[in-house]
Amino acid sequence: MSAKHVNPTRMELTRLKGKLAMAVRGHKLLKDKRDELMRQFLDLVRENKELREKVEAGIAAANQNFVLARSVMSDETLKVALMTPKQEVYLETETKNIMSVEVPVFHYKTRSSDANDIYSYGLAFTSGDLDDAVKSLADILPDMLRLAECEKSCQLMAAEIEKTRRRVNALEHVVIPETRQNIRYITMKLDENERSSQTRLMKVKDMMLESAHHYKEREEEIVPVVEEI
């Protein structure tokens, strides 16, 4: 069944045995890695789902507030009010290692330390609804950043899990059975060779004894005597 030809030699046999041991060990380790990755991934993805639902609801609410604000203000005033932001957000990124997957961790910093310093306009020409709208959006910003972190991690881990799973399957269903098959083939072949040389030796011994002692000729001499009796 083995797809490619293997040399039935002792050296090859030793090599294959080493390969099998390695494959079995690698398979076990990768399987453990896959299981642990999966466990962490599922925790993360549940959090991701919750955050996403929260953020989507938050943005929808904020959008409603903005529509409300827009209905009582002219587009120009709105643009003027919003287009010169006072606040700026910066991100610092770090990476965290989850089972050899590098996932990002974001720390965000705002330009002014006061979290309430988000209104980039004077209060005289804008409606109160705009304040509410901006506030509602500012409130979900931390969740949005957490969502970004979480969702990116999920994507990266999903890719890693897929890769690990493929490796586990390749070892389990291809490499290990194939190596076992080859080892079996070589042992059988070696045994067969041994048996064949054994018989050959026995045969040669017979022939040598024959030429030394001439058993056959003697037998022929004896046989007629037996018949006479």
Binding site: L42, V45, E56, L78, Y90, M144, C154
Partner: protein, 110 residues
């Protein structure tokens, strides 16, 4: 030091300007794809993208799925939630587990 970008149609995203995120109002998919690439190469760690726009430049987004930065995150626009964002999460579950085990009974929300 990284920054945060928001892309999408103007009506959906102008509010984020007040928070100090960088706005990139885009309507045309070709421009948006180009801009996305440009932002990804510069110092943007997170790019929020409206679902409406994301639909049109899916190929560009998929390209960044496996690189560690930037994180491209879908957000609903003014026109409402299309369920695309949650679908992306679902897709990554399917990719990892082989089948969807988190969103069982709520297959496609509208």
């Amino acid at each position: 030091m990284y920054r945060i970008a928001v892309m999408g149609d103007m009506d959906s995203i102008y509010g984020f300007a007040a928070l100090g995120l960088d706005l990139f109002p885009m309507e045309d998919p070709a421009d948006a794809g180009k801009k996305l690439r440009e932002l990804a190469e510069n110092d943007y760690a997170v790019i929020y993208l409206t679902e409406g726009l994301a639909e049109k430049i899916e190929a560009e987004i998929d390209r960044y799925k496996e690189s560690d930065l930037p994180a491209i995150i879908l957000i609903p626009g003014v026109s409402g939630n299309t369920g695309r964002g949650i679908m992306a999460v679902k897709k990554s579950v399917e990719r990892a587990v082989g089948t969807d085990i988190i969103f069982n009974n709520q297959a496609t929300r509208r």
